[in-house]
Symmetry: C2
């Protein structure tokens, strides 16, 4: 590397040096990890010095396009070098990143772009057409990377001096729109301070370092990739981009590229385990999962493949994982079943989190008895500032300053929280609560079952009854009656599904099973209780 490649340290005139902002990790990486590979994106690879220089150029491009502090810049990007660059350049000039879910319809994208008031939309080539349509609707500038024109590259190549701006650490860093299962998407506001601390926590809990390679299976648009765009950079590890979920390609990366870390929802882990190429790895891979508890069967299968899973828990509203299933060394002595049951719990606040509690409707802590249910609530630096331009929704989501997660949980005697269900997924049958998760775990433990989803069907007599949708493994020969009998041996009678349907499960772009879609099949059904 030549001398001119080395980034010039910022000078006192430009910055206060104690501002907590995740972009600081790139500045440090450009100094200490200058020659290490920062990112591999297909045939492209950049060192940290190069990435820092490109991000600096992107700040100049953004400035040239009229982006000022506080302006919103929307991104419709795959997991790519562009998306990583935007995660640093947009906050680097004091603007606000609005990552867009690539699976949304143009109408949904247009709603978010207009609601956020974005004045620029940056897109990778896969989404050029959608981006141009959305940009035309919103009447804003669209910048596309990777197509025939490649305006992104052209502007970067001709960019003047970087435009770094200091920020208020409690100021707006990003707006991450939720999928909005209950109406319009809501814009979750992230601040620099929260993302900085969450990045440190992720780096600590994953033990990621300069010898690590992080595979981008998790969408960067989702909760800003749980802050891993900054955490991986802080560690000096290599970002390996994956522009779409392709399990065969994931296995090529795992076996050929020395991947040491990745993050994925349990459904994606299931897909990885089910891929024909799945075979035990010759090195340990640390996977972080969240969004739903990994089933004991899945954990055992991952472990056989050399993939050790850490279970994290969080929401878009908590910068991704606010809680961690902090593994206790003594637990290694347990049976696979015991270990899996311990690991299925959501755990406790991460090292930099504030406080995570499970409370009664009156706000008192539930007893740590493993059975009394309450709602999981959270406070601290990695809780959102609120919903953008939606004070009513913000007020509804908080009580006495605590964020309501909407998750029903118990606290075990060792202090670890375990979610029984999403509030809206609890099935109430004959006055008894049925945690759909509990029924699903039993079904998932059958060797022929890949995954399952249990929802309530309105019922005149019981209010609701549990119905299971189940995906069977290729070559599996279990039938419905056998599976009902299997459940009957392991569950209280009222929890056994009244009907089992073999089917592929509908999923969101992040791999979450869409129970709303399953429930919607019962709309208009006699005695229906209504769906949120």
């Amino acid at each position: 590397m030549s001398d001119s490649d080395r980034p010039t340290p910022p000078t006192p005139a430009d910055f206060t040096f104690d501002t907590l902002r995740p972009v600081a990790f790139l500045e440090r990486a450009a100094a200490v990890f200058a020659d290490r590979t920062a990112i591999v994106d297909g045939d492209l690879a950049f060192t940290y010095a190069e990435l820092h220089r490109r991000v600096g150029r992107l700040t100049a491009v953004l400035d040239g396009l009229g982006i000022r502090p506080g302006d919103r810049v929307a991104a419709l990007c795959s997991n790519s070098h562009e998306m990583l660059e935007l995660h640093n350049a947009v906050p680097g000039i004091g603007a606000v990143l609005v990552p867009l879910n690539i699976r949304l319809s143009e109408a949904e994208l247009s709603y978010i772009v207009e609601h956020s008031g974005a004045s620029l939309l940056v897109a990778t080539v896969e989404f050029a057409e959608a981006a141009r349509a959305v940009g035309a609707t919103a009447g804003i500038r669209v910048l596309v990377s990777g197509d025939a024109d490649d305006e992104y590259r052209t502007l970067l190549d001709g960019a003047p001096e970087p435009v770094w701006r200091n920020v208020d650490e409690r100021g707006l860093l990003a707006i991450n729109y939720t999928s909005g299962t209950t109406g319009r998407p809501k814009g979750v506001m992230y601040h620099h301070r929260g993302a900085y601390l969450q990045s440190l926590a992720m780096a600590y809990h994953t033990g990621i370092g300069p010898a690590s390679n992080y595979l981008w299976t998790l969408p960067m648009f989702h909760c800003d990739g749980w802050c891993f765009p900054w955490a991986v950079t802080a560690a000096g590890a290599t970002h390996v981009c994956l522009r779409g979920i392709d399990t065969a390609q994931i296995w090529r990366h795992l076996t050929d590229d020395g991947i040491t870390h990745f993050s994925a929802a349990p459904t994606v882990l299931t897909m990885i385990a089910e891929d024909p190429a799945a075979a035990p790895l010759d090195h340990i891979v640390e996977a972080t999962t969240g969004g739903a508890p990994p089933s004991p069967a899945l954990l055992a299968r991952m472990s056989d493949l050399g993939i050790e899973v850490t279970h994290l828990y969080g929401l878009t509203e908590t910068f991704g994982p606010i809680a961690v299933n902090q593994w206790q060394p003594e637990w290694n002595a347990g049976s696979p079943e015991e270990r899996a049951n311990l690991k299925a719990r959501q755990g406790i606040g991460n090292i930099a989190a504030g406080v995570v509690r499970v409370v009664t409707p009156e706000g008192d802590d539930v007893p740590a008895d493993g059975s009394t249910e309450g709602e999981l609530v959270a406070r601290g630096n990695n809780v959102m500032l609120g919903y953008y331009r939606d004070p009513e929704a913000t007020a509804a989501a908080t009580v006495n300053g605590w964020l309501r997660t909407g998750d029903v949980a118990v606290v075990h005697p060792d202090g670890y929280a375990e979610i029984r269900d999403r509030s809206k997924d609890v099935i109430i049958s004959g006055g008894e609560n049925i945690a759909s998760v509990e029924v699903e775990r039993v079904l998932d433990s059958h060797p022929d079952v890949v995954e399952s989803a249990v929802v309530g069907r309105p019922d005149e007599r019981w209010g609701e009854v549990p119905i299971a949708y189940v995906t069977i493994r290729d070559g599996g020969d279990v039938d419905v009656d056998e599976l009902v009998e299997f459940a009957r041996e392991r569950l209280a009678r009222f929890k056994v599904p009244k009907e089992i349907v073999f089917a592929q499960l509908p999923k969101t772009s992040t791999g979450k099973i869409q129970k709303t879609v399953l429930r919607s099949r019962y709309e208009g059904h006699i005695g229906q209780t209504g769906d949120t």
Copy 2:
């Protein structure tokens, strides 16, 4: 553990949950690591739930003794459960900890106690007598632990409800007095935010976790033990106390107690390597060192013993290690000599540090050529607030908001800084700084002495020992033994010159004493001194 042992989570009325303060790590540890061993101190051992309860009681004791927010509490303690408890209880009630160097003379201790305005002095049994004398001089309350009365224990046993108070994260956490290179000790002011971030950085860089055991070879009174009292707690690791440096005992801990981590100056590492019990360990121990670069021979010897050394760099003014010799995986391929040379460099800012630079007198960065010297300067969250009640010294230590370390360094082409010369007048003996000026002033105060110059002579055991060159007045009849005795009455034992030479002092044309000339006499010389 019974239910009553489990700490009650703080409630919204008591706290804002986003305050960065290192005591938060104990609260988290009490929840997630409740039953893990927090501390072993001789025959005593407490779990994190017990430690948290004891600290809560100590807050009540402090409150009962009249300690109010902002009040200073001095501690004259060995590495002990009491010192760890004070590191949490004193900031826990919003008061300010003043850790005292146990090797200072009563006169020096009294100066610091009075300068800090401490209204309480807590001492472990080893220092009961000195503490009572200092307390009497200052006219303040002294609380002793571990003697026949054991008032500390009595008060803790009878303590009422804990008194936790929230703090301003930029408010005063501790005052750590330097040894005073140019005169009186200066009180370095730490804030909660800096200690919190430094703790996270230490936890990340050492990879410490709940299966780790940290041996307290580093004095907790020294820069608040580089923030390890909180970092080890954040990780849920076990603190293993070492009330004095005893290398045979260190080896018993290393071999019998599963020690995985410790911190020590290179001189202490040398003592450990030289101990008759030294033999290769059956597990890897991660040692962090600082204060002086570890020599290649030392690093090789440690590696043979199974002790991997990470080189850190910092000052009292930077919460301990602000820089880290961040190891690059490729360096493992080098020869032992190459690896040692790479590791001897002080490196770059740690993951949570601000910016560390090497600058010319005009404040420009020196070129990264490995040869141009400049002064190492630093900014960021782990730089002190300033010197307590000493605005002149604070102003002298900073330039344009940057802390001047007084260390002369170069920057290598890979961006790593390497110190060429410690601030030349400081003698480092057994890991402690000795200000030559302070010793000279004592010698100069003898009626027969014209002038003196004190320099460090290399020493196998202590790193350096102070040697004095003294010019005697014409007609003066003091002899060497009398002058040594004169110094002994006025200085801490380790500061007393090990050798006094009557001589004319070499000077520059402008009359400055040339210490480099005196030091050059010891080039290539490694002496051995039996005792302090």
